[in-house]
């Protein structure tokens, strides 16, 4: 079971994880503003995650931890 967790307050909302995700299951949370004032990234459908870690690979801020 894949699990992706976000250290949300580190996120700068650049969206590089969103465009890297091959399953299209990440988004920037337009309804959330984090400590830094950004819309942070979040998972929309954990079930579909394959734990490829492409999101974490492209994240410049070490926001994402991926577990399987």
């Amino acid at each position: 079971m894949a699990k992706v967790t976000f250290d949300t307050d580190r996120c700068k909302g650049c969206g590089l994880c969103v465009s890297a995700c091959p399953k299209g299951i990440l988004e920037l949370a337009k309804d959330v503003i984090n400590k830094k004032g950004h819309n942070p990234a979040r998972m929309t459908d954990q079930e579909k995650c394959i734990a490829c870690a492409f999101c974490a690979t492209m994240c410049p801020d070490c926001v994402i931890t991926v577990e399987r």
């Binding site: 969206g15 590089l16 465009s19 890297a20 974490a56 410049p60 931890t65």
Partner: protein, 252 residues
């Protein structure tokens, strides 16, 4: 099982870089190499002047902040003093290829046993987007508002090609961090640049093509595309020199 997490040799400090700036990816790749090789306790890093000036807060190993462009000289002093330690510099294009060109070339030609991470984003970031020695012909910056005119501003410096023409350096490569495949390759190459030092092979420089969405005036996504479309055609990726593998200048 953890597939991916923040490397241990990065501190918990939040990076000050702009959203989508790929300095953060490169920091992580350096830290991953340090973790993988188990060398954090004996590594000393040198921060530059430029956007990465505060890298000393991000790497958990001992750190020194150098004057603009002088990191290879500072690294030389440290390495000669403590040859058993692992010494790396982390420098941008203005730092390494403009003001610090002499220090770069001479550390390379001495085959100084250090690792140099050279971040090329074709612009001066910290000062707000001026023309860099690596800005592309025609590239619009604050100090080339009509585009870099090679007749008056000269041509970009191709650092990897230039240094690989020297007999001295052990290893010269150019990588990019604009997509997953390139990041994974960059990780391998950066690790090799540290392994070379551990094995006493000598000067190993990795030029990393990096994005500056803020000063390029692009979204982070478009900045990564611009690397593919404009940067990589001018700055081809690959291993330019690998003396131990018998690969000399000109072969790629």
């Amino acid at each position: 099982m953890i597939v991916f997490e923040k490397p241990k040799s990065l501190t918990d400090a939040e990076l000050h870089y702009c959203p989508g700036c790929t300095h953060g990816i490169i920091h992580r790749l350096v830290a991953e190499a340090i973790d993988t090789l188990g060398i954090e306790g004996r590594t000393i890093g040198i921060a530059p002047v430029g956007c990465a000036v505060m890298a000393y807060n991000y790497f958990a190993c001992d750190m020194v902040e150098a004057a603009h462009g002088r990191a290879p000289a500072v690294a030389t002093g440290i390495k000669r003093s403590l040859p058993e330690n692992i010494v790396f510099t982390y420098q941008g294009d203005g730092d390494l290829a403009s003001i610090g060109m002499a220090e770069t070339v001479h550390a390379a030609t001495r085959n100084e046993n250090i690792t140099v991470i050279f971040v090329n984003n074709a612009i001066y970031g910290m000062t707000g987007g001026q023309m860099a020695p690596t800005s592309l012909p025609g590239q619009i910056t604050q100090t080339s508002p009509y585009g870099r005119d090679v007749k008056t501003a000269g041509y970009p410096v191709k650092v990897a090609e230039l240094l690989s023409a020297l007999d001295g350096p052990e290893f010269i490569a150019r990588v990019a961090v604009n997509n997953v495949k390139n990041v994974k390759n960059a990780k391998k190459i950066i690790q090799k640049a540290f392994e070379n030092q551990i094995e006493g092979k000598g000067f190993s420089l990795v030029e990393v093509i990096s994005a500056c969405p803020t000063n390029w005036g692009m979204t982070p996504q478009n900045a990564l595309k611009w690397i593919d479309e404009k940067m990589i055609p001018y700055y081809p990726l690959g291993i330019f020199k690998d003396k131990s593998e018998g690969k000399e200048a000109g072969e790629r």
